[in-house]
């Protein structure tokens, strides 16, 4: 069963921040000349005086955001993930993360689908990089409902945030009354054969992959992890314990992203084999979205195939481990 269509998270970003700013004069948006792409133009229409264009100059933009936060504003940074995190990393590290200033960084166009722009603009490392910074909360919502809730939580919580956003329209995974909580993972499907863990919009594809697997007789738990830092250790351990087999799927590099974060938790708390699906130590390329998702094994069909293959490959060692566990 396919999920219903929904809004692009970039649109949700512009709408939600604009609505919050109606009642919160502290909120401003600083833009790195990409407001027409990141959804920030929606904010500019509603609050032109609080839309602060910084031009094509990301290092300074992040520094200006720190200065604004230090005098009481709540700046949202509108930028592509590749430039916010890649270009301006030092500004983030020294001026925002170290002093824990109240800056809300958004990384638009995170992941593989960056509008046919190719490897310069496809950012697979934003999670790995941002979760390495003390004091920073890292969020990757799955759909329009969760993205709006996450933005509300970011404003309500003092301190630096990184919010991964997404260019393309995204299926709706959560009901309107879904309650988002920073640091809490959400089980969106129950199954005892394997525990699939994912984050961001990729969770919607993993959910659909689980439905495909179910038709083949494999029942998967799907654990959505929208807060990559601080990570929900208990939720991850519980899901790993339920099936004894973990596959992490993300639209990020398998080096340092959610797969690494889950492996860090499980290696010390509940060691089980962890398979990491995602971008395999390579750069992307430009191309139509559907073909990119298939080629880089992130479409629902590809994920279902790879999970099934991984289960077949791991069957013997996993049974052996389970035997050892039961003693």
């Amino acid at each position: 069963m396919a999920l219903p269509a929904g809004k692009a998270l970039r649109t949700v970003f512009g709408e939600t921040v604009a609505a919050l700013a109606d009642h919160d004069p502290r909120i401003v948006v600083v833009d790195g000349d990409v407001g027409s792409s990141t959804g920030a133009q929606i904010f500019e229409s509603a609050h032109p005086e609080r839309f602060l264009q910084m031009g094509v100059a990301e290092q300074n933009m992040l520094g200006v955001a720190a200065g604004l936060a230090s005098v009481g504003f709540v700046p949202f940074v509108s930028a592509f993930a590749c430039f916010a995190v890649g270009r301006a990393f030092d500004s983030i590290r020294v001026l925002i993360a170290q002093p824990a200033l109240n800056v809300k960084i958004t990384g638009g166009f995170s992941g593989l689908l960056a509008g046919k722009t190719g490897k310069t603009h496809q950012m697979f490392d934003d999670v790995a990089i941002m979760r390495s910074l003390p004091n920073v909360v890292v969020l990757a919502p799955a759909d329009e409902v969760e993205a709006a809730a996450a933005i509300h939580a970011m404003v309500a919580t003092d301190g630096p945030f990184y919010l991964q956003l997404y260019r393309e329209s995204t299926p709706v995974l959560f009901p309107a009354d879904y309650r988002f909580e920073i640091g809490r993972s959400v089980k969106v499907r129950d199954g005892s054969d394997v525990s699939l863990m994912s984050t961001g919009v990729q969770t919607t594809r993993v959910y659909e992959a689980a439905e495909i697997l179910a038709r083949r007789g494999i029942e998967a738990t799907v654990l959505h992890i929208p807060t990559i830092k601080p990570i929900d250790e208990e939720g991850i351990v519980e899901a790993a314990r339920a099936s004894g087999r973990v596959v992490v799927v993300e639209e990020q590099s398998v080096l340092g992203g959610l797969g690494s974060a889950v492996a860090e938790v499980l290696s010390s708390r509940h060691p089980v084999p962890v398979q990491r699906l995602g971008i395999q130590d390579t750069y992307g390329e430009s191309g139509p979205d559907e073909l990119l998702l298939d080629k880089y094994r992130l479409s629902a069909a590809a994920v279902a195939q790879d999970v099934e293959a991984s289960l077949l490959r791991q069957r013997l060692p996993i049974l052996h481990l389970e035997g050892a566990d039961r003693r």
Partner: protein, 289 residues
């Protein structure tokens, strides 16, 4: 307040005392920088004793003028001046660079009250200052943001990103002081000698800041009366941000350090320390610890 009503002779004595404390602190810590702090010292003294609208006893006073030492490696000078101005007890100066100290090797706004921004990665403090000034404009607040940059620091691209934006938003509540001490850590080799060339030939920084839409003036960064006049004038300018190019001498006040790039971050030996203090001697003024 008596401390803000100092005559220029008193200010010069303060700066001399501050230089003594700085050299002693670096020798005690066995680390840190000297050349840059000494070139900046007279300007910092004028700022904290004459220009900044601040309350040392209430360092987070919302309407205070902001000061960012973007050339954060010169922070020992800032710490000493802050201590003399009453932000913390002078004896704490000797915790500089020590474990658990509030006086970190580069300024940390989360450890020491009175620091308006963390800095140390060059150029970044300035961009935060642009944000503060922009925030003051947005919120209709009257404080002025002062940022001190080094001339070597002006190599950083982020400085010119920020300079562009500051003039674009007509941030006349932002004052930059470039401590042009004419040496950077290492810099370009001067032909035919062991010396190093200045980061920029004379006048180039003036022209660059002006080209970015700033009002620019020059001052002798060791003439404390002139520095004060220039800063007060800068504060009063409307319609544009102001850059004050302060011509200074790296290592100023200690003859064998002056103009010598090797004193950027060298620690004095016991003999050098004694020699330095002898050259800065000032009967009648001592730290009241």
């Amino acid at each position: 307040m008596s401390s803000t009503a100092l005559g220029v002779a008193d200010l010069q004595a303060k700066a001399r005392l501050a230089r003594r404390e700085t050299v002693k602190a670096i020798a005690h810590a066995k680390g840190g920088h000297l050349g840059g702090p000494l070139s900046a010292m007279d300007i910092l003294t004028v700022l904290y004793f004459r220009v900044l609208n601040i309350r040392p006893e209430q360092p987070d006073w919302p309407d205070r003028d902001r000061f960012i030492l973007s050339k954060g490696h010169s922070c020992i000078a800032l710490y000493v001046v802050m201590a003399l101005r009453g932000y913390f007890p002078p004896e704490e100066i000797y915790t500089f660079d020590a474990i658990d100290s509030r006086l970190q090797g580069h300024p940390d706004m989360r450890t020491l009250p009175g620091l308006d921004m963390s800095s140390g990665s060059l150029g970044l403090g300035f961009s935060a200052g642009v944000g503060m000034a922009l925030g003051a404009k947005l919120a209709n607040r009257a404080f002025t943001t002062f940022v001190m940059l080094g001339d070597g620091e002006c190599n950083e691209g982020i400085v010119w990103e920020g300079a562009h934006v500051a003039s674009r938003y007509a941030l006349d509540n932002l004052v930059v002081i470039v401590d042009e001490n004419k040496l950077q850590q290492y810099g370009w080799r001067a032909d035919g000698s062991g010396d190093r060339r200045p980061p920029y030939p004379d006048g180039v920084l003036h022209d660059r800041w002006r080209a970015f839409g700033w009002q620019v003036s020059d001052v002798d960064g060791h003439d404390m009366d002139a520095v004060e006049r220039a800063l007060q004038e800068a504060k009063a300018v409307r319609g544009r941000p102001v850059a004050l190019i302060a011509h200074t001498v790296k290592g100023k006040g200690i003859s064998f350090m002056e103009g010598n790039y090797r004193w950027h971050s060298r620690v004095p030996t016991d003999e050098e320390l004694a020699l330095a203090l002898a050259g800065l001697s000032d009967a009648g003024l001592a730290v009241e610890a």
